[in-house]
Structures are given as structure tokens and as C-alpha cells.
């Protein structure tokens, strides 16, 4: 087992095929400790597949992925203590209360009451935690799920579209929670989104993913300067446009 100092997540030349569909076509990236890395791309670009591969849920067809030196798929048990994963459209159990959700996941991870307490704090749901999750709004559910992922302070948190489908207030709340978490714990976050403005606000580094390939990478400022654009949306259009001319 090798350990790259400072690098928490590395992916080398990752391919993933589902039958004839090529979801990823040679993705490589390195994410460092304390970094919020943003994966930006339209629907169907390969963000979810890449996050699932890093989470150890899906096996790459080719290539090597390491999380703290471990293969997340093969060394599934070992990597659980490092990784926290929030799927894009994850949902709650209607017949459990918010508190029971926190308790359930804390027990599954073999953790105690202090973790549940931290989860309560992160969720900011207050007394509503005692209500059944079926009574929660979409924003409340997302906050609860984010709290479940972050309450045990994973070293690597993979957040797939964490604000997808949320209203402005709920989105701001979720983004603040993520920022606060990184400041408090120094953990690594990989967040996927097709909302470029969100990524620009949250991330220290961004990977532009399009049709299963990372077309460019850098900090939002670097990318904006490189493409002489006013924001990341423009950067993405220009980067993809150039790629289309070169390769497609």
C-alpha cells in the first residue's frame, strides 16, 4: 500500500464502460488535504460515475483510484473510515425521525452519542429532528443527509450535487455547512455540480468534466484568467468549445 503525502484522492486514467456506453474515458485527478475540489459538468458528463468510483460503489473498467493509498472498491472496509458520500438524489426514510436517522448511521459506523450530537448541530433542524422525515421539506432532508455524512468527520467527503433541487435559502445553508466543516476539520471535499456559480463560490480547485473526460483543471481564478472569461460558466463553454474543435 502506498501513501502519497498530502494527496488524499488520486485517480489515474479511469475508464468506465456500461456495455456500449462510455461513461468515463481516461479521467485523472489528484485532490489534496483540506481542498474543496469541484467537478463541473452538464448532466451525463460522468460526475456521478466518478464519485461512485471514488466512493467504492462502482468498479472502474480500467485505471487506478486511491483514497489515502487504498483502493476504495477492493479495500472497501478500510476506506469506510475515511470516506463520507452523499449521493445526488439520496432520500430519507419516511417512517423514521431525523434523530433516528442520525442514530442509525452513527451505530452503523460504530460511533456514539457525541457523534449524534454533532449531527444534530450540523443539521440545524432543532426540535424538528423528533418529527418523522416524511414531514420534512426537500431542503430539510438534504440538511439531514449532509449532517449524516459529515457528523462522523470523514477525511474525504464526496458530495454529489448537494444543493440540487433546493431553493436559494436551503442552498446557501448547505454551502455554509460545507465551508464551515472544512474550516473546522481540514477535511477534503469533492463536490459535483452543474451549478458553476456554486462551484466558483465553494471550491479551491475545479475540474471541468465533459463527455467522460476532464477537459481542464485549476482554481476558479486561474481558469477565468486562462480563458479570459468573466465567470466559470463562460470558462466551461470556451473549454468545451475548444475541445470540440480539437477532438470531436
Amino acid at each position: 500500500m502506498f501513501l502519497l503525502k498530502g494527496i488524499t484522492v488520486s485517480a489515474e486514467n479511469i475508464y468506465k464502460e456500461y456495455g456500449s456506453v462510455k461513461a468515463l474515458r481516461g479521467v485523472s485527478l489528484r485532490v489534496y488535504e483540506g481542498e474543496i475540489y469541484g467537478l463541473v459538468g452538464p448532466n451525463g458528463s460522468g460526475k456521478t460515475t466518478l464519485l461512485r468510483i471514488i466512493a467504492g460503489l462502482v468498479k472502474p473498467s480500467r485505471g487506478v483510484v486511491r483514497v489515502y493509498g487504498y483502493d476504495p472498491y477492493e479495500d472497501f472496509k478500510e476506506t469506510r473510515r475515511y470516506i463520507g458520500y452523499l449521493p445526488e438524489d439520496a432520500n430519507t426514510y419516511d417512517l423514521l425521525t431525523g434523530y433516528e436517522h442520525l442514530e442509525l448511521y452513527a451505530k452503523i459506523y460504530g460511533l456514539g452519542e457525541d457523534v449524534v450530537k454533532y449531527g444534530e448541530e450540523l443539521s440545524q433542524l432543532g426540535s424538528r429532528l423528533r418529527d418523522l422525515a416524511s414531514t420534512y421539506s426537500r431542503g430539510m432532508k438534504r440538511r439531514l443527509l449532509l449532517a449524516i455524512v459529515l457528523m462522523r468527520k470523514p477525511r474525504v467527503a464526496l458530495l454529489d450535487e448537494p444543493t440540487s433541487g433546493l431553493d436559494v435559502h436551503a442552498s446557501v445553508n448547505v454551502r455554509d455547512t460545507i465551508k464551515r466543516y472544512v474550516l473546522e476539520t481540514g477535511a477534503t471535499i469533492i463536490v459535483s455540480s452543474h451549478n458553476m456559480l456554486e462551484i466558483e463560490y465553494l471550491c479551491t480547485r475545479v475540474g471541468l468534466i465533459y463527455r467522460g473526460v476532464i477537459v481542464d483543471e485549476g482554481s476558479p481564478r486561474e481558469l477565468i484568467e486562462k480563458y479570459n472569461a468573466s465567470n466559470l460558466e463562460e470558462v466551461f463553454v470556451k473549454a468545451v468549445g475548444e475541445l470540440s474543435r480539437e477532438h470531436y
Binding site: 460515475t49 460503489l57 472496509k77 470516506i83 459506523y109 455524512v149 467522460g212
Partner: protein, 418 residues
């Protein structure tokens, strides 16, 4: 495998079940309530169905024929039948409302009073949908005629004896010199059978038939547990947790089996009440012969049968994309179970030739049937053997099922998001 994680997740599954009021109602209360209500309605309908009997006397106006007619009329009326009396056979034959026609034919009186001829009374039955009550009515007619016949033969024999100067005689000894005694029931080891021994085979058949009620819902619970969890989008976070796939699937199978067992007990209670109500209507009594040992064995075998069913269906269900295709797969497996349990109602598997039985033992359901039937024969060794085999087989099946799947297959099941 971590038992703490298993118990935590299983507890969550059962907590959800107990909070689902609709599921509780359908699983626990509906079968006993619905089946007892159906039983009561059936009894009510049975009592409402009227049987129409017509007595046709075509033997002119002889006193004996009139007496027999009047006797039949009075006793059948007393028994609650709608009885009419006529001389016109043709019109009665054409009347569809008449279920049973009793004809006292021409020459009946001559025959009944002679010493060298037998007098026949014709019984004509109209073919219909519900013939059970007409059968009962026919038996009543036969019983009345038998009594009349005995009385006439008593008269004839006593007259003949008097003429022959015989003073010591028994009418029964002349009429029916060789008779079969009422059958005596014995137990498996030759001891006199108790009422429970006589009823046990019927109850065992009932228990075997009730297995057919558990195989279908068992698959549904697994479908809901796995496909439902995938469709409700709660599965992915779990699979990414230390719970892992094997523990996830084992808990789903166990939870389905526990809920299935609860449903099985509830179904059995319903079935029992249904049969008890029907039997009470005809003067029988079944609840008094409930045997705790047999009921306990049924519960254990039900659980293992569900476990085996869910284990068989698990790899197929987990790979299917949606509830519809999963249900199709599950229904195939349920049909196999259904066919076996209906066969178990009719066939004594315990007494099948061993070569044939050996082949059938490949199917787990054979063990379920055999365990219950062997209990009837007090063959504790076979009961224990079948239970053990079923337990081992279910465990192996669960193990194989979980090993044939991986996280990706269960999570994506031919669909994916990029």
C-alpha cells in the same frame, strides 16, 4: 460480518414495519378479520339456500303409498325443506325450481306388500351449481325411507315368524345378518386414537396449504426491501457505509422472513377461524384440537420456507430494474411453491416411494411439507431432519445469493447516471 450492525439495521427495518399502519392492518388484522367474515357470510349464504323437493305419488290412492308420501312430506318439512306433493310427474320434471323429486311409482304398494319383490322409490336429482345441499337433502330422504323400510320388514318378519311358530328371533338378525362395525381409530403405534389424532392429519393439511399464503408475500417483502430501497433513493448511502452489501442483503432477507412469519401466523389464524366457522355450521368443532407442538413447528417451518424463498428470489430480484420485472420473477418462484403446497394438501409425501422422494427433496418446499406430514406420523427424526436441512439449505442459499451479487449490480441494475 458485524452482528451489531446487522441488529441495528434489522431493528430499523422492523421499526419501519411497525410504524406502517397500512402494512400492519393488511398483514396482521386483515387476514383473520376478512377470513372469519367470509366464513360467516358463507355460512349465512348456505343457510339461505333453499332446497325444493317434490314428492310424486303415482301409485293411485293406496293407503300405504299415501302413508309413505305423508311421512316423507312431514319429516322433510320438519327438516326445513320446501316440500310439495303432486301426482303429475311431467310438470315437476319440467319445473327448474325443483331440486329433488321423490317418485313413488305405480305398483309400489303391490311390491311392498309382497314377499318376493322389492319396492323401489325413485330419487331424481337436478344437476345444479351447488349440489352439496341437495346431496344432504337426498341423504335425509334415504334415511326416512330406510326407517320406513325397517318398519315394514319388522312387520313382515314378525308375521312370518308367527306363522312359522318361531318365538325367539331378532328382526335385525334376519334383515341384516352381517354388518360392519363403526370403525375404530388407532394411533401410529396401535394405541386407541384420541380426537386430536383423528383431526391432526386434516389440520396438518391445512397448515401445509397455508404455506402457499406465505411464499408470495415473502417475495414481495424482499422486492420492497431492495427495489423499493433503490427506487426511494435510500440505498446508495447505505451501500457506501460500513454496512456493506452482504449485511444489507442478509438483513433484507431476515426482515422479509420475520414479517412473512408474522403474516403467516396471521393468515393461519384467519384460515383456522374460517374453517372453524364452516365446521361449526355443520356441527363440527375444530378449535379444541389445536396442538401447540404442531403450531410451533409450523411457525418454524414457515420462517425457514420464507427464508428459502427469499434466498432463491434474491439474486434475480436484486438484478432487475423495477418492481414490475422483479414481481414477474418472484411470481415464478411463488408458483413453484404454490404447486408444491397444493400437492402437499392432496398427496402424502411421507409415504411416497423413496426414489421419487429423493428427487423431490432437491426442492426446499418438499422439506417443508415433509416436516409437517412426518409430525402427523410422530416421526420425530424426519421432522428434525427436514427442519435442519431446511435451515442449512436456507443459510447456504442466502450465502450463495449474497455472493453472486456485488455493490454495482445491486445499485445500478442495468441503469446508471453519469
Amino acid at each position: 460480518m458485524n452482528t451489531t450492525r446487522l441488529s441495528v439495521f434489522l431493528w430499523k427495518e422492523l421499526k419501519e414495519f411497525t410504524r406502517d399502519r397500512k402494512a400492519l392492518l393488511v398483514t396482521l388484522l386483515l387476514p383473520p378479520l376478512a377470513l372469519s367474515a367470509i366464513g360467516l357470510v358463507t355460512v349465512l349464504l348456505l343457510t339461505q339456500r333453499q332446497v325444493f323437493i317434490s314428492i310424486v305419488n303415482v301409485d293411485e290412492e293406496s293407503e300405504i303409498a299415501l302413508n309413505v308420501t305423508s311421512r316423507l312430506y312431514n319429516e322433510l318439512s320438519k327438516a326445513g325443506y320446501n316440500v310439495s306433493e303432486t301426482h303429475d310427474l311431467k310438470s315437476v320434471l319440467r319445473d327448474p325450481s325443483i331440486d329433488l323429486i321423490v317418485v313413488i311409482p305405480r305398483g309400489f304398494t303391490n311390491n311392498v306388500t309382497s314377499l318376493d319383490r322389492v319396492a323401489f322409490i325413485e330419487v331424481i336429482k337436478r344437476a345444479g351449481i351447488s349440489s352439496e345441499q341437495v346431496d344432504v337433502a337426498e341423504n335425509t330422504v334415504r334415511s326416512i325411507i330406510s326407517t320406513i323400510s325397517t318398519e315394514i320388514s319388522e312387520l313382515k318378519i314378525s308375521t312370518l315368524a308367527e306363522k312359522a311358530g318361531i318365538s325367539t328371533y331378532s328382526v335385525e338378525a334376519v334383515r341384516n345378518p352381517v354388518q360392519v362395525k363403526v370403525p375404530v381409530y388407532i394411533g401410529v403405534h396401535g394405541e386407541p386414537a384420541k380426537i386430536e389424532d383423528i383431526w391432526r392429519p386434516f389440520i396438518a393439511k391445512l397448515l401445509i396449504l397455508s404455506f402457499s399464503f406465505v411464499v408470495t408475500p415473502a417475495s414481495s417483502y424482499v422486492i420492497d426491501g431492495i427495489i423499493g430501497e433503490r427506487e426511494r433513493k435510500t440505498m446508495e448511502m447505505l451501500l457506501a457505509s460500513p454496512l456493506g452489501l452482504t449485511e444489507f442483503l442478509i438483513v433484507k432477507v431476515l426482515a422479509a422472513s420475520i414479517v412473512g412469519l408474522i403474516a403467516a401466523i396471521s393468515d393461519l389464524m384467519g384460515l383456522y377461524v374460517y374453517v372453524a366457522v364452516l365446521m361449526a355450521a355443520v356441527g363440527g368443532f375444530i378449535l379444541g384440537v389445536l396442538e401447540p407442538g404442531l403450531i410451533l413447528l409450523h411457525a418454524v417451518i414457515s420462517f425457514l420456507t420464507i427464508l428459502a424463498t427469499t434466498s432463491i428470489s434474491l439474486p434475480f430480484i436484486s438484478r432487475t430494474r423495477g418492481i414490475k420485472s422483479a414481481s414477474s420473477v418472484a411470481s415464478l418462484i411463488s408458483t413453484l411453491g404454490l404447486a408444491f403446497f397444493v400437492a402437499g394438501w392432496i398427496i402424502d409425501f411421507y409415504k411416497l416411494p423413496s426414489t421419487l422422494l429423493k428427487i423431490l427433496l432437491v426442492v426446499p418446499y418438499t422439506h417443508s411439507i415433509l416436516a409437517i406430514q412426518a409430525y402427523v406420523y410422530r416421526d420425530q427424526l424426519v421432522v428434525a431432519g427436514c427442519t435442519l436441512v431446511l435451515l442449512v439449505l436456507s443459510t447456504i442459499l442466502v450465502f450463495i445469493s449474497t455472493r453472486t451479487l456485488d455493490r454495482e449490480k445491486v445499485l445500478l441494475a442495468h441503469t446508471y447516471y453519469t
